[in-house]
């Protein structure tokens, strides 16, 4: 039995009605999607306060123990002669054990922590071995995108005419069959080929890396400054890429990146242009905020430039900017047809985007305002088919009815 039900008088009835309305209240779709664009860019993994606290505690105990040992150290003891420290050798026995190969159903993000490894099955019989502190995104087609760390990809020989593809930031790695490592460090991408051959593609240009060769992406001065011994044939290939999936090199012209001489051989000197420091890249949220401020200051064209630049990137921020660019065109620059064009591009680029419903609605509203009734009707009907659960369905149904009347349809 609910409180005030049945109500004793009109006041109680009004109060009950208010409570029922409040119970049914929900955020609108636009607000939810807008909020998601602000939440989607959170760090890949939530912080681990307990682990951090544990590390701090262990560190404190170690320091205290060291201090205590120094205090009780016998003063008359002969000083220990400094000994030559042996070169650090990676002890195979202490490496984290590789677990059984896991089949991860994409889309999913696989992340290994310190001292943790994972072996993931990918499509076409390939598998990826993630070393500690690596991040691999497995998409819906079971293709891998290396986002951070060092990943070894083993690819069986592909059938004639078929190639295995993996991604690392802006690069597509295409192979016929090989085994290679992927390292992600700083903002650089590098490839060491062990067997077979690998092609690294970006925007229609490719770098071919043969067995035993290495390649490092431009703007990775740190990686190139460390000479590496040539790996003998039969070893693995390594690809290195920037951590956030949005390397700063994106801001550099692609032609500059892929036309540079690449490190075909580890000992080959780095190209002068490639050792130049990468230009600073502002975070997407900062650019978006600047666009909003610019718009509020009454400079829609400048805001549009910023949004269009942002929209050329990736991720929710790019998607949000692509949508907002249409709104600037329609609401501030009074170019509704261009706005429809921009939103149509958005739909082509993000067919299942988080602002898809809002984009469909914006196109519909604009077409109604332009009195393009037939197109608007087609949009309304497409919206109803596509967004069956939309909370604005009723509104669009009413609009569709009115449009049918205007078009003289039953």
């Amino acid at each position: 039995m609910r409180w005030l039900h049945p109500p004793g008088d009109s006041v109680e009835a009004a109060l009950r009605a208010g409570l029922d309305h409040a119970r049914a209240r929900t955020s609108n779709e636009v607000a939810r999607r807008r909020l998601w664009t602000r939440l989607a860019d959170l760090p890949v993994s939530p912080p681990q306060p307990k682990a951090r606290a544990m590390r701090l505690a262990v560190g404190a105990i170690f320091v205290a123990g060291l201090a205590g040992a120094l205090l009780v150290w016998p003063s008359g003891a002969p000083p220990v002669a400094p000994t030559q420290q042996p070169a650090p050798v990676e002890a195979k026995g202490t490496e984290p054990e590789i677990p059984l190969r896991r089949i991860v159903e994409g889309p999913a993000l696989v992340r290994t922590r310190a001292r943790e490894r994972a072996e993931i099955a990918l499509r076409d019989g390939a598998h990826a071995d993630l070393e500690p502190n690596s991040v691999l995104f497995v998409d819906a087609d079971q293709r891998g995108r290396i986002q951070r760390g060092r990943v070894t990809l083993s690819v069986p020989r592909q059938p004639e005419g078929k190639r295995f593809a993996a991604f690392a930031g802006p690069y597509l790695i295409s192979v016929l069959g090989t085994r290679f490592h992927v390292r992600v460090a700083g903002d650089s991408v590098g490839v060491d080929v062990e067997e077979g051959a690998v092609e690294v593609w970006r925007a229609g240009r490719a770098v071919h890396i043969a067995s035993g060769e290495s390649w490092t992406s431009p703007f990775s001065a740190r990686a190139r400054s460390r000479p590496r011994a040539r790996r003998p044939r039969g070893q693995q290939i390594t690809l290195v890429h920037g951590p956030a999936g949005l390397p700063s090199a994106l801001s550099a012209p692609l032609s500059q990146r892929l036309s540079e001489p690449v490190g075909r051989h580890p000992a080959a000197p780095a190209a002068p242009a490639s050792s130049a420091p990468a230009p600073a890249v502002r975070p997407a949220t900062e650019v978006f905020k600047q666009a909003q401020v610019t718009l509020a200051d009454g400079h829609p064209k400048e805001a549009l430039d910023l949004l269009e630049g942002l929209a050329r990137g990736h991720g929710p921020a790019a998607e949000n900017a692509a949508y907002e660019a249409g709104r600037v065109l329609r609401d501030h620059l009074r170019k509704p047809r261009q706005a429809i064009g921009v939103w149509t591009l958005y739909r082509a680029r993000f067919p299942a985007g988080i602002l898809r419903a809002e984009t469909d609605l914006s196109i519909l509203e604009t077409l109604v305002a332009l009195e393009e009734n037939e197109r608007a009707l087609a949009e309304a009907e497409a919206f109803l088919r596509r967004h069956a659960d939309s909370e604005r369905r009723g509104e669009v149904e009413r609009a569709a009815r009115r449009l049918r009347e205007r078009c003289g349809l039953p």
Partner: protein
């Protein structure tokens, strides 16, 4: 009394990953799971902050703060309570903090002899009774308001509310009774 459970009101339908599974995947940095968790709780969080009297123009920011807090606290979620209980607890804490800072702003505005600007109306809420109710609930004390909203609007049972607000069930009943009486008194007086 047929109270709807929080899990049924804000969790997904069967076939969806469980809360525990989602949390586990979020801890591994799975952004898809994080999106699913957001989708599952976004409406509830928004409705809750709205019912607790957070003005329309601040609700989005409040919901963002709550989800960031949820994300940052995922490692601390032990699974002793339902995830919904835990999310409500974080949301209640944040809403209370927002309420305090808003009252402080209003006080400072009054001291500076400035009339605070009236909040713009929320275009999505055209029902006058909802505005009236929001204002009345906003006049309740924080503890009574939280209990009333969780029981009457969010539809949680008293044991779960006791877990969220951190007090015995009898105290929840007591606060609820007083909150109802206050609300009815305000409605009769027409003090909105």
């Amino acid at each position: 009394m047929n109270r709807r459970s929080a899990s049924s009101s804000i969790a997904g339908s069967s076939g969806q990953p469980s809360d525990r599974e989602l949390v586990g995947r979020c801890r591994l940095g799975d952004t898809v799971a994080w999106r699913a968790l957001y989708d599952r709780y976004a409406s509830a969080v928004y409705r809750f902050v709205a019912a607790l009297g957070v003005p329309a123009q601040e609700r989005e920011d409040a919901a963002q703060e709550i989800f960031v807090a949820v994300y940052r606290s995922l490692e601390r979620f032990r699974g002793d309570a339902q995830l919904s209980t835990w999310v409500y607890r974080i949301a209640a804490r944040h809403a209370a903090r927002l309420g305090r800072s808003r009252r402080l702003r209003e006080l400072l505005g009054a001291l500076a002899l400035r009339e605070p600007a009236p909040p713009p109306p929320d275009p999505s809420e055209r029902a006058a009774d909802l505005h009236t109710l929001d204002r009345m609930i906003g006049r309740l004390g924080a503890k009574k308001r939280t209990v009333l909203v969780l029981f009457e609007i969010e539809g949680l049972d008293v044991d779960k509310i006791a877990d969220i607000v951190g007090c015995p069930s009898n105290t929840v009943w007591s606060r609820l009774r007083h909150a109802r009486a206050d609300l009815l008194r305000m409605a009769r007086r027409g003090t909105t």
